[in-house]
Each structure stands twice: as C-alpha cells, then as structure tokens.
Amino acid sequence: MRPPRGRAALAALAVVLAVAAGCLADARGWAFAQDNAKLKEMYRRPDTIPFPADNPYSDAKAKLGEMLFFDPRMSGDKNISCATCHTPSLAWSDPLKVSIGAGNQPMSKRSQTLLNLAWTELLMWDGRFPSLEDQVLGPLFKSDIMGNSKTGMVEEINAIPAYRGLFEQAFPGGAVSVEAVAKALATYERTIVSNKAPFDRWIENDENALDAAAKRGFALFNGKANCAACHNTWRFTDDGFHDIGLADQDPGRGKQVPDVPVLMHAFKTPTLRNVAQRPPYMHDGTIDGLEAVVRHYAQGFVTRPSLSPEMKKLDLTARDIQDLVAFMRSLTSDDDPVTIPVLPAKEAM
C-alpha cells in the first residue's frame, strides 16, 4: 500500500533535514576540534630558555649566580638573601601577605614567584625595571628590602677568596663588580623554569592528564570567564598591567606611566604557573585562596575609571568556580628538588 503523496513528501523532507542536521553537527564538531587545537597550540611550552646577547649563558655564571642568590651576606645586615622572599620550596615565593625586609619591616607588596622570568619584560609589580639585569640590583640596594650599598656589597664579596675565583671563572679578566653580580644573578634566575605540569601533558595530547573538571575549567578560562584576556600564552600572563579592582590606593603602574589613565592602580599580570602552591594572592596578598580569587573576578571588584576594560561582572555557578580552580591546579608542575649551595667562608683578618 502506497503512502499518501503528502505524507511521503513530509517523510522525505524529514530525512533530508536529519541528514543536514547530522552534517551540520559534524561540521560544528570539526570546527570546535580545529578551534580547540589552535587554542591548545597557543599554550604550548617553548623548548629552550632565551638568554640575551649581552649576557649569554655560561655554567660558571649560573653557578656564581646561584651562590649569590642564596647568600645572606649580600644584604646590608647579612641576614637576608634573595631566597628569603623567593623560597624554592614555595614555588620561589614566600607565604606572607607582604614580605619582610631589612629591619624586620613589612614591604609594600607581595613577593612574586621567580618561575619562568627568562621570558618576561618589565619586572616588578609596577614594571619599573626593563630587564632582569636591572631588576636583580633593585632589592639589593633598597633600604627596606636588603639594604646594602654598592661599595659594601663589593667589599664583602672581595673579602671571600673563593668568590674572587668564581668571578674570575665567570668573567675572565674582570674584577668583582656590581655589573658582574647583576649578570650572574640574572643568568641563574633565567634557569628557574617550571617543569611540565599535567596541563602541558594534556597540551601534548595526553587526554588522561586532565580530569573532566579541569577540562571544563580550561573552556571557561578561555570562554565566559574571560581569564585568558590577560592570563595567556604558556606562562599564563600577557606581561601587561591592569587595574583589577582591588580596593587599595596603591597607584601601581600609574606611578611609572601617569599619562595613561587605565594604568592607575594597575599591576603586572602574574603568571599562573604553579599558582596553587603560592597563596596568598594579588599584589597585596589580600586574597587567601583560589576560589576567592575567582569570586573577586566574578563579582568582587570595585568599579572606578581606571578599571581594566577586561573586567566584567561574570555569572559563574558554584561548579564553574570549582572547575576553574581545578584547571588552575593542573598548572602545578612536579619540580626537581633544589640543592642549596654550600657558601664559601670569609677570609680571617
């Protein structure tokens, strides 16, 4: 028995629509996979560490820099080393809201991690130093951080015979100098690189490296949560400066560049590598945990003329927040233990 002509036409139309819908779904799936592949490529780690042409890597410089980094005699009172505020055990930061400097006085800002600085420019929360060679000298001679003087530091190092030999190896024919100290410290700091994290293994197509929550978090991070507007590239920072609406009066980058209104209260975007290992968060250390950080970005910021245009109220569910935190936890690498060097003794007078 033949079906009525109208019913047959409807059946044919339904088949055509079903096939078309299937093709469309396949096309969308393919497009999503392509977009996701492009997105993942943007987060792929580099293979080598960049060193500047005017301060190329050498083993001797890195070894000297490592010793100077851990040596408290580099400070005016000989009681604070670079590692005091940048502890390798704590992802090269410290656990304090704001670090404690010379004279046991609190500093104005939170210690930042030293992970992956070889790739950055404009250092410190306000970007006041153009290179790592400039930056490493800043804390040494700042009265409220390490409180040393250039003369005092060079005299102290020269009084340690083994250091004189190490400087000769690192800088043949050159004397102990402030410039040589800067180059050695910067060379060592450029070697501080986070190992691969579960996220990196996922980027390399190990689908089991991330759980479902972290994968959803990655999609949110690059989607409606808008985190990737500033926390992008493999280091999860744009190396830019943004006012994220923390309710303090610190001018931040605005003090360095006063003619750009959106740089008032703006601070450098911190890397998110190993972020779960180094609370508290923000330049002033005022947020204790990652969930609270996400809630700040969603609804908790103050609105003012300098607020970054990328800061928009977000409608995140409790599961969204947990997924974003799961994703951020996937950025924690299993780093190698750091051996603290034995430091040479001062020459007896």
Binding site: E121, L122, G127, A229, C230, N232, D238, D239, G240, F241, H242, V257, D259, V260, P261, V262, L263, A266, S308, P309, E310
Partner: protein, 111 residues
C-alpha cells in the same frame, strides 16, 4: 604583437597590487592591526606628514604610545574595534608600544 598591451596591463596590475599590499609604500596613511596582542607589522617606513591608523582588531583594549623625534604621543585607550590615527610629521625613528601590553612593540621610520 598583440600580447604586449596585455603584458603591460598585467605588469601594471601586479605593481599596483604590490603597492597596495605593502604598508611602507602607501602615501598618506598606513593601517596597522593589533590582533592577538601583537602589532601586525614589526616595522613600517613612511614619509614625513604621513599617518598611521592603528586598528584594534583584537578582543582586548590597547593603548598605543609612540616616542621619537617629534616627542611622545599617547593615542589613548582603544577598546576592541576602535581605531586611532597618529600623524608623523618629523623625520626619524619612532618606538611604538602598547602602554597596557608593553611587549607589543614596533618601529616607525619616517623619511
């Protein structure tokens, strides 16, 4: 030789297309994009009196700043989709960067 006029037309078309495609050869105004937090050109050569139109074809805000012989110029906040134009009326080399994302850098050579 009927082919000669055709060859001329083709050659002229190629030359015109090349001129249009090269940011350094357009008289008056050159357009520079800013997608993916990078300027579309690392370096641009123009003549004194020419302008550069900075197009924010990114999905985040930028703030172009230019420093050189004519002094410093701050183009101000550019939200996604905005454009701003800077006039270069003095010869020399200018360093251009984004005030918000200082890693975005390019140079402008003005003859």
């Amino acid at each position: 030789m009927r082919l000669v006029p055709l060859v001329r037309v083709v050659v002229c078309s190629v030359v015109l297309y090349s001129l249009a495609a090269s940011p350094s050869a357009i008289a008056g105004e050159v357009s520079v994009g800013q997608a993916h937090q990078k300027f579309s050109e690392d370096a641009v050569s123009i003549k004194a009196g020419d302008s550069i139109k900075f197009v924010n074809d990114d999905n985040v805000a930028h703030n172009v700043m230019s420093a050189g012989p004519g002094g410093s110029k701050n183009a101000g906040l550019q939200k996604a989709g905005d454009s701003t134009t800077i006039l270069y009326d003095k010869a020399g080399e200018y360093r251009v960067h984004c005030g918000i994302h200082p890693k975005m850098k390019m140079t402008v050579k003005v003859d």
